[in-house]
């Protein structure tokens, strides 16, 4: 099976359907969302499981993935 397809895949990021290049990692996804802005203090869940920052680069984002990007805000 070819993995070279350039067809963008559909993923859901914070509840919003988003196109993502095939073969993207979690690190690629975060870079897509944040651009040049800092992603310090951001944590990622992929399909209901936390992906540690140390594994963002080697963790692929599968098609139809549910991704949550969260950070601290006022509360409590």
């Amino acid at each position: 099976m070819s993995t070279g397809s350039q067809t963008p895949r559909q993923v859901t990021v914070n509840g919003v359907t988003t196109a993502l290049a095939a073969g993207s990692s979690v690190a690629d996804l975060v870079a897509t969302i944040f651009g040049s802005r800092s992603s310090d203090g951001v944590a990622v869940a992929l399909n209901g499981a936390v992906v540690p920052r140390s594994r963002w680069a080697q963790t692929p984002v599968p098609d139809d993935a549910l991704v949550e990007l969260v950070t601290a805000t006022q509360g409590g």
Partner: protein, 265 residues
């Protein structure tokens, strides 16, 4: 008496955390970062809560203010309604903030914001097993407080009244029962409106008070933070200073010896 031997000034220990203030400050409702820095300083707190929410842009982070203030952070799971969501939120907070502390909230609905005891206990058990230091926001129910301790929570945090109501301690008897049998710190969390409510919680023997709205939505949050600092400190000191028994009839504090006799009519 030196500070380490005086129970009134002994630090509060929760897991590995050592707190010299008995006031834990929530940040919900704070109007801006400058006010946040002001209330942290005025309250004397050593621990403040944050929530975890979706982000797609790095705002000027609330964590910058908290870190600059030199206080520890207590992420919460506010808004979660199931054990599953609360556990994931706690795990995300640990990853984002590098702390294993969690204020565990699992609420039943959006109108009462009361804890769902079944989901709360399940989440607490899972998070303890996952290595978290769990501080559960709980009902003022002595039996649930006991169950939360049995599964390994590091503290129990019974409500005074529903979140944001400012009604004060609705069931002081239940709170006393929780305090009497607790083997972990008891922290009153939610429903505090006035400094006198916080002082009462401490006089009843609670170990700390957690509040947000009472300070953050006050007209003058920094002044109110100072008022709560003093109230918590006063209540804590009083609880350890041996309050007098209540009496039905009056008892003069002034000695009667040497009293000038009543003049003859």
């Amino acid at each position: 008496m030196n500070a380490t031997n005086d129970p009134a000034t002994a630090p509060l220990r929760i897991g590995d955390l050592e707190l010299h203030s008995r006031l834990i400050l929530g940040t919900g409702g704070v109007s801006n970062h400058e006010v946040l820095a002001g209330i942290i300083e005025a309250s004397g707190t050593g621990l403040v809560t944050v929530a975890m929410r979706r982000t797609s842009a790095a705002d000027p982070s609330i964590m910058d203010v908290i870190r600059a203030s030199g206080v520890a952070v207590l992420p919460n799971t506010a808004g979660c309604k199931t054990a599953r969501d609360a556990v994931l939120t706690a795990q995300l907070a640990r990853e984002a903030l590098g702390t294993s502390l969690v204020k565990l909230e699992v609420i039943a609905d959006d109108t009462t914001l009361l804890p769902d005891p079944v989901e709360l206990l399940a989440a607490a058990e899972q998070l303890v097993a996952d290595g978290f230091t769990v501080l559960p926001y709980t009902n003022d129910d002595p039996v649930l407080a006991r169950r939360l301790q049995v599964v390994g929570c590091a503290a129990v945090m019974p409500l005074a009244a529903p979140i944001g109501t400012g009604l004060g301690i609705r069931n002081p008897h239940a709170l006393s029962m929780i305090v009497d049998e607790a083997t972990v710190p008891v922290i009153v969390d939610a429903g505090i409106g006035a400094p006198s409510h916080a002082a009462l919680a401490m006089e009843l023997g609670c170990d700390a008070v957690l509040l947000a709205t009472a300070v953050t939505r006050a007209d003058a949050p920094v002044s109110m933070a100072r008022a709560f600092r003093d109230a918590v400190s006063a209540g804590h000191l009083a609880a350890r200073a041996g309050m007098i028994e209540r009496r039905y009839l009056a008892r003069a504090s002034t000695p009667t010896a040497g009293l000038i006799p009543p003049a003859a009519p």
